[in-house]
């Protein structure tokens, strides 16, 4: 069986780096891997979704409704938006960040009152985390995405933790290796 993971959030949150690392980790584990995302308007505050699939043999690079084993949402509304993709026994990890879409900011639409509560109504396994808070505690709010990667790694059992750490070290700037590994560990041990 292939493992299917969706990483969703808002442009600028570090989603593509996270999904690149995930793909690399899968390849290093000797698995076939594919990922798909749409670039283009992401820079201008649009939503960003990355689909990653790995296993013995992967055909489609896209995940369909009710197929994702894990959804990692970097923002609350993006968790709600992608809920239809979650398998009935899948895990959804929701970062507490709240980023207002422009129509909401300018008063043309409303931000849901309790997106996480809404997610919990439908998803059996929901993990909620304030990754930004943890990143700040570590002294670098930019490692938020790596904290979230750590939480996800814990929930993807088919991959060895050492491969994660090794790949992470190769993917981030030399100077930030320490804080990134710490961030990953904080995510990995989060429960």
């Amino acid at each position: 069986m292939n493992t299917k993971i969706i990483i969703a959030g808002v442009g600028g949150q570090g989603i593509l780096l996270a999904s690149d690392i995930l793909c690399e980790v899968a390849m290093k584990s000797g698995l076939d891997a594919k990922k798909s995302e749409v670039h283009g308007m992401s820079q201008r505050g649009g939503d960003v979704v990355s689909h990653v699939i790995f296993g013995d043999k992967v055909y489609s690079p896209l995940i369909s409704y009710e197929e994702a084993d894990v959804i990692l949402a970097f923002e609350q509304v993006e968790a709600l938006r992608n809920l239809d993709y979650l398998k009935s026994d899948g895990v959804i990890i929701v970062n507490k960040a709240k980023i207002l879409p422009v129509p909401v900011a300018s008063g043309l639409a409303d931000y849901p009152k309790d997106p996480i509560g809404e997610v919990k109504k439908f998803a059996k396994n929901t993990i909620v985390i304030d990754a930004e808070e943890i990143a700040k505690e570590l002294g670098n709010s930019r490692v938020m995405n790596v904290v979230l990667l750590g939480v996800m790694a814990k929930n993807v059992r088919s991959i060895d933790k050492n491969i994660w750490i090794e790949t992470l070290k190769e993917s981030v700037p030399q100077k930030t290796i320490d804080v990134n590994v710490k961030a990953f560990e904080r995510g990995y041990s989060y429960s």
């Binding site: 594919k34 201008r44 422009v102 129509p103 900011a105």
Partner: protein
């Protein structure tokens, strides 16, 4: 060695391995990263062209000189380059010549969903269609050799899901290919009627030979399984079919044009029921039906939008259509917006305030059409802002008092605005044209252009002076204005649109996402809640840093998003927005 590459990266890699000498392109999603990655290989000369037509002609020129050459563009770019495409079909290729079209089923970032397989048929040029990154790499190499062997340009068709999906690719070494050199050959390279009549005959003969090749082509193959159902498919659809219908027999087509007729007939005979799964147009379907073979395609497979595994399963009734969850709280849309501090914002704020008719164009600035700015009336294709204004002005004359302003970006102006501006002067138009000069091609991810003074390979090159260029085109009244000065922008647009004389306003300020702009220190702004009356004038700017609290009836500025452009400060009549000194 293995690497995970996107389809676009794989094409660049394949070009490198295949001994390519020359590559050019005009950016356009989803094709842009092909040339960006090509430029990393110093063995290949890579350059940005001014538009797709100049790009295709430039690459053909390199092929004339015996170089292996490649040109890349998004699907609509091939419309711009269609004229030389058809000639190139007759001329053929001295050095291998590959033309890449990246189509966008689903219109993730395009104005239409055209299916460029139709161009292969119309221009009688072979077309290859990879279905993952490994094939994207192999097919690019194959296209180069096929081009030389058959003396033809070769089209390589990607789609968004091929270009922007990553999969594992086995890498190889670069093959060294000698440049063949130039030889004068007017009978082939100069398509006037006498020559073209002979060439057309050759093109038809070439197509017959390619048809034979197609039947034995390694990447046109059959995978027999259960013979009750046989599916013909190509490109990304192959992946969806393999996943959705694992037990079906499949004829996978890699060389989409010309189609392997013998192979198709063989397959049709062996399976009980024949289907075709393809995105958008019934291209293969129409051809197979013309062969007199019974096949089911668009009767069950949608013609609009892109496919995925689920849609294929639903089409074959393997599963029921999915019903979306009934969440009580809906996710508000998150459309892209102009960045906080975008240099384009003030122009649209002014256009909205002055209630002008704005013929628009394509770029980041098309977002000025969205609420709350609502400051663009039309968007047709690159360059259309100016020419639409010429016709519309004529139609309104004496019937409608509203004034027209054409809005076009700098890269778009170089692409196809210049000829339109000459047209406007020649035909005595009086509309005002605003060139939004943010010193970059921003929309597609910040590429250099003739206004930036840098080439794709990072070399210095003369920087075009827009003022002199526009004056040279016959516009006497040319003004530049800093877009962070809202009053100056508004007054200038007002004055110029009211006058019955053509003029050009160059609204100038670099995109805030450029590295040199990001480094700059700036002061932020914040709301003084005591003074904020809740009038929402600042909200109308559409700055993503500004939000409005409906309960408190106060505006709020997000301190991490604000880049201190001061536009909201200039708008607020109540002095409720104040400067906070930057650290």
């Amino acid at each position: 060695m293995k690497e995970i590459l996107s389809g676009n990266e794989a094409v660049a890699r394949g070009a490198f391995e295949g001994g390519l000498h020359f590559a050019c392109a005009y950016p356009g999603t989803p094709s842009t990263e092909i040339l960006e990655n090509m430029a990393k290989y110093k063995e290949i000369h890579s350059q940005w062209s001014v538009n797709e037509k100049t790009a295709l002609e430039t690459a053909l020129g390199a092929s004339f000189g015996g170089m292996r050459a490649l040109v890349a563009m998004k699907h609509v770019g091939l419309n711009v380059a269609a004229d030389p495409l058809f000639s190139a079909g007759y001329i053929g290729a001295k050095g291998g010549f590959v033309i890449i079209t990246a189509d966008d089923p689903g219109m993730h970032s395009s104005q239409n969903e055209q299916d460029n397989r139709n161009y292969a048929r119309a221009a009688k040029i072979p077309m290859l269609e990879p279905s993952d990154s490994q094939e994207a790499k192999e097919f690019t190499k194959l296209a180069l050799t096929m081009s030389e062997e058959f003396d033809t340009p070769v089209l390589l068709r990607l789609t968004t899901r091929i270009s922007h999906s990553k999969s594992i690719v086995e890498l190889a070494e670069r093959e060294t290919i000698e440049v063949k050199g130039y030889e004068k050959n007017v009978k082939k390279n100069l398509v006037m009627p006498a020559h073209a009549r002979v060439l057309h005959k050759k093109v038809e003969e070439r197509l017959l030979k390619l048809k034979e090749l197609s039947n034995d082509f390694k990447y046109n193959f059959i995978e027999y399984k259960n013979k009750n159902v046989g599916i013909i498919t190509s490109g990304i659809s192959y992946q969806y079919v393999k996943e959705a219908m694992p037990d079906a027999s499949v004829l996978k087509i890699g060389l989409t044009w010309p189609l392997p007729e013998r192979l198709i007939r063989e397959f049709a005979e062996k399976v009980d029921k024949l289907y075709v799964v393809e995105e958008n147009d019934p291209f293969i379907e129409t051809e197979v039906k013309a062969m007199g073979i019974k096949i089911t395609g668009k009767e069950i497979i949608p013609i609009v939008g892109e496919l995925n595994t689920r849609i294929v399963k639903e089409s074959f009734k393997v599963i029921e259509p999915y019903k979306l969850k009934e969440t009580s709280e809906k996710s508000p849309g998150r459309p892209p917006a102009l960045c906080p501090g975008c240099p384009h914002s003030s122009v649209f704020y002014a256009i909205n305030k002055l209630k002008l008719i704005a013929t628009g164009d394509i770029g980041c600035y098309t977002l000025g059409a969205l609420p709350p700015l609502n400051a663009m009336d039309t968007c047709v294709d690159m360059g259309a802002s100016i020419t639409n204004a010429i016709g519309l002005e004529y139609a309104l004359k004496g019937r409608d008092k509203r004034k027209i302003v054409a809005v076009i970006g700098d890269s778009t102006f170089f692409h196809s605005g210049i000829t339109g501006l000459i047209d406007l002067v020649y035909n005595k138009g009086t509309s005002t044209v605003i060139i939004l000069d943010n010193s970059i091609t921003a929309m597609t991810g910040h590429q250099e252009n003739p206004g930036t003074g840098k080439t794709l390979m990072g070399e210095d090159t003369p920087k075009f002076d827009l003022v002199n260029l526009v004056k040279g085109l016959g516009i006497e009244d040319v003004y530049t204005v800093d877009t962070y000065d809202l009053d100056a922008v508004t007054n200038l647009i007002k004055r110029e649109t009211e006058r019955d004389k053509p003029s050009v306003i160059i609204a100038r300020r670099p995109c805030i996402l450029l590295p040199e702009m990001k480094k700059k220190k700036f002061d932020r702004y914040e709301i003084d809640e005591a003074k904020c009356t809740g009038c929402q004038m600042c909200v109308k700017l559409g700055c993503p840093a500004i939000s409005f609290d409906k309960e408190k009836k106060k505006a709020h500025i997000n301190e991490t998003l604000c880049v201190g452009c001061s536009l909201c400060f200039q708008i607020c009549k109540f002095g409720a927005i104040k400067k906070v000194k930057g650290e």
